[in-house]
Every structure is written in C-alpha cells, then in structure tokens.
Amino acid sequence: MPDLKTLVLGRKDAQDLDTETELPHELMTVNMGPSHPAMHGTVRIVLTVDGEKVVKGDVQPGYLHRCFEKESEYATYTQIFPYTDRLNYVSPMINNVGYAMAVEKLLGLTGKLPRRAEYIRVIVSEVSRVTDHLTCVGASAMELGAFGPFLFFLKAREWLYGLLEKVSGARLTHSYVRVGGVNKDLPDGWTGELALTLEQIDGVIVEVEGLLNGNRIFRDRMAGIGKMTREDAIRWGQTGPIARACGVDYDVRRDHPYSVYPEFEFDVPVGTTGDCFDRYLVRVEEIKQSIRILRQAIAKIPDGPIMVDDPRVALPPKHEAYNTIEAMIRHFKHIVDGIKVPAGEGYSFVEGGNGELGFFVVADGTGRPYKCYCRSPSFVHLSTSETLITGHFIADVVPIFGMINMIGGECDK
C-alpha cells in the first residue's frame, strides 16, 4: 500500500505538483480529545486531515477504563449492581435490569418474578430510556449551537431524575434492581406523579421539535452526514437507534421479548436514510413510544410482592433478621458470601438506551462470578466511527459523534 500522502494527494512532495496553478498542501495530524467538549466522555481521535477534510481517523477509546470485568470477578453478585450503574451512566436502570436478568437466567428464575416487580422494572427502564434519549438529543443540539433545546431537555431529564431519586434514593447511580426483583416498592402516589410529568414532557417535546425539525442550520448539519447503509449496519453489528435509523427493523423488546414487554403496545420507529438526522428522528420517536409504554404500565401495574419468594436470592424480612437467629444468619451469609449461583454460563440481553446491552456471565457455584462480560452497545457503535467520519469535514465529526451517542463509561467499561 502506498503511504497515505501519495494515496490522498497523488504526490509525495510539493515538487511533484502537476500544474503550476495548484497550491501545495500537506496532510496534517490533528488530535481531538481525549478531553474535548464535543467528545462525550473521553475518547481520543487522531485525525489525519487534508485541509478541512478528514482522510483518516484513528479512534482510541479506553481513557475511562475502570476494569468493570476484572472488578466483577472479585465482587459478589449483588455488589456488581453499583458497577453496572457506572456503565451507561445516563440510563443506569437498564444496566441494572440487564445484569439482573443474566444472573436470573443462570438461577433459572427467568419468568418467575412477581408481576409487580417486572412492571416496576419496565417502568424504571423506560424512564431511563427517555432520560438517555433526552440527553443524547439535547447534547447533540447544543454542540451544533442550539442551546435552547439542550436546556429544555435537561429540564425534562431533571424531572425524571427526581422521580427516580424518589424510587431509589440516588439521583444518578440508582443500584435499585436486585437479583430476583427490585430493592424497594414504589413510593405512595409515585405513578400519579409520573403521569403528570409525562404530560409535561409531551409539551417539552413539542417545543423542542418545533425548534429543531425545521431548523435550517440543524438540518444542514445533520442530514446526509455520517450515512450508513442497512447492509453495513448489520455487518458492523449495529443495534438500537443507529441500526433502526439505517432501516434495520430490530428491537430486542419486540423481537426477543423479555419481562412483561409483550403486554404493551408500542411501535418501533425505523428510518430510511441512515444519516444523523434519521438517528435524531428515531430517538425522538422512541421517547414518545417509551412514554406510551409508561402510560400503559401505569394503568396496568398490579399489586403484590416486589421480590421473588426464593431464599437463595431474597433477603429475609427485616423484622425476622432482627429477631430470629436463622434469619440473621441467612442475612449474614447472603451479604458476605453472596448469592450462590450454580455453575454454568449464560448470555442475556436487553434493549439498552443505545442498543443491545448484553451480559455474558460465567458462574462457578460460588457467590462471585467467574467471568462477567458486558456487551456494550457504545463500544460496538464507536467502532464504526472511523469509517463514518472519513470523507467528512472536521466540523461534521461533532454531530456524528453526538448521534453515535458514545457513553464513555459503557464503551470503556
């Protein structure tokens, strides 16, 4: 292969210019990141540019690597929940649910959870999906100069974070889901508050769509940028909004249904052009569909227990743990030794904010996983960015990255 200069410019030195009128120009290397305001999280791109055009981009993740998998091998199954919060920190609830489902698969608890627990999981997952998309769309709009939509969406996100805080006690790192159910029940009147908030969010979406959809600058910067074909999206293993924008009709919630998703009616938006503008449209539509699921879930949520009645995974009730020796010992063993998961392995996946979020857990019978691999959608999506940014202007790197929605914590694990 000839060197990059010869390949792009067709010559090696200024002396080799074809005509006297052609101006001499050279390839230049530009470092973007690792800490750059337009890079979500920390990722470094070494751009080789010909003038303003990107000739080659070497994307280097890993600046946020916190050894999720190595740490997991030394933590009990319950202690891993806080780590999963820090994977995709914009939608931690979905990570919690995805990880819990993988462990439940190994324990043979899939489909045996109380219905109220499944409903709560769906509700918090969908709220998380809305916060994820609000952040992605808002931040991308801000990077293109539209500061208003960012503030509107972050305002709406804050309402939802407030609701999740009421449920879990933490604004961002919830650690709310447990193997076999959820940590605690919804507070009184919470679903009513959620219903009111959803109505307010409907208004915010109308506002932001009015600001962005017909906005000349926004459309010029998004439409036709970072195009991917349907075949490429499949070959590259893309899932979630990015794949759907390319016309891949795939949603884990519908195609490999888990939890109680089959009981809800929702549509899967699919794009046609596969560019950044379609990714934006798909995300906004998904917010609306999530709200639709939430409304159905609020109407149908049953009463009942929130934890599976299985002494292997459920902590004994507090009044028993304080008053009887058996329950106290069980509580102690549960916390210190962890949940004993029989030896085996399983891959379980959910529809995360960004796409198929999977956990591949290998258990050896002890209270700690032998291996806990996370199939993070951001990592898979980011691997296409080298191809997507090639041929575009440096300025286009920003919307492409914004719409890939690379979340550092999830990508770098």
């Binding site: 293993g237 085996g344 392995e345 399983g346 891959y347 050896d364 032998y370 990592f379 980011l382 691997s383």
Partner: protein, 175 residues
C-alpha cells in the same frame, strides 16, 4: 427452532465440531480451530442459517476453574486447553443465535480472525487480544484498545493480580 441449527451444523460440518450443548437455552458449538473460518463462512452464507449479525467475541480463562458442587473431574487441570474463545452470532432473518467456542492452549493462543466475515468483530477481537492476549491471525489492525501500548501483560487473565499497578508515568511513591 434453535436446536435445528446445531443439528444442521453437525450434519454439514460433523468433522469440524467437537461437541454441541445447550446451556440455559443458549446453543453452543465447540469448533475445531482449523475449521473455524469454514464453519463461520457457512453459517453466514447458508440461507437456512443466515447468521448475518456479529454480537460479541470474548474469551474465558479456565486457569482457576474449580466449580463448586460438581465432580472434581470438571475442574481445570494442567494440560487442558486454558482459553475458550466465545463468538456469539445472531440471525436477523431467523432470529436464532449460536455461540461458537474454540479451545486454545496457553502456549498456542491464536486463532484465525473473523473480522473479514463480520466487520463488527474488529474492535471486539482487539479487546479480547488486549484483555487475554489471544492473537487473531489475519486481523487488519491487532492493537491494544483499552490499555496503553506500554502495558505489560493481559489484565483479564486469571494470573494477573487485581491490585497490580502499572503507572505509565514513573511514580516512585506508588511502586
């Protein structure tokens, strides 16, 4: 549905398959390393298989494998292959999934890359190389991806201590 995939695979490539199993509903086929590319190509191109979607590549290090409440024969012993490379595939047409596994010895930890078949495995194989030191032959760009180039060792191997430090900038106070 899913069992059909394993049956068809054994019928077509019986000599290349070491064994097949179903674990918690996941279909797993152990493939001989020499035949991996042929099997994978067939899985991708055959109309009844149509595994067009790469899901993940990772590896399992069996060095400390001593499962509880199982016969001692299942534990890992010296001389058995130490690594298992797992390749998960999905078909968007038939909605079935399969996990291919290749067993690798410690002193011969290399296998052909599947990136030419599924571009999505590019970074995944780099990650597995970075974390486990498994070489993917024919990979276009097999560099470390999470760790820095100067890093010594492979962090997810079971014999890499969890608390080992390797500061990139020399820090005598941390040594």
């Amino acid at each position: 549905m899913a069992k059909k995939v394993l049956d068809a695979l054994v019928a077509k490539h019986g000599a290349a398959i070491v064994k097949t199993e179903q674990i918690h509903g996941d279909e797993v086929a152990w493939v001989k390393r020499e035949a991996l590319v042929a099997v994978a190509t067939w899985l991708r191109d055959d109309a009844a298989m149509a595994f067009d979607y790469p899901v993940f590549v990772t590896a399992i290090d069996r060095l400390d494998w001593k499962p509880l409440n199982r016969p001692p024969s299942e534990a890992w012993t010296e001389g058995q292959p130490r690594f298992e490379v797992c390749v998960q595939l999905r078909s968007s047409k038939h909605k079935h999934r399969i996990r291919l596994k290749v067993a690798l010895a410690e002193n011969d930890a290399k296998l052909p890359s599947l990136t030419p078949l599924w571009a999505g495995f590019n970074w995944q194989e780099r990650e597995t190389f970075d974390m486990y030191g498994i070489k993917f032959e024919g990979h276009p760009d097999l560099r470390r991806i999470y760790m820095y180039e100067e890093f010594v060792g492979h962090p997810l191997r079971k014999d890499y201590p969890k608390d080992k430090r390797q500061p990139l900038v020399r820090r005598p106070d941390l040594a």
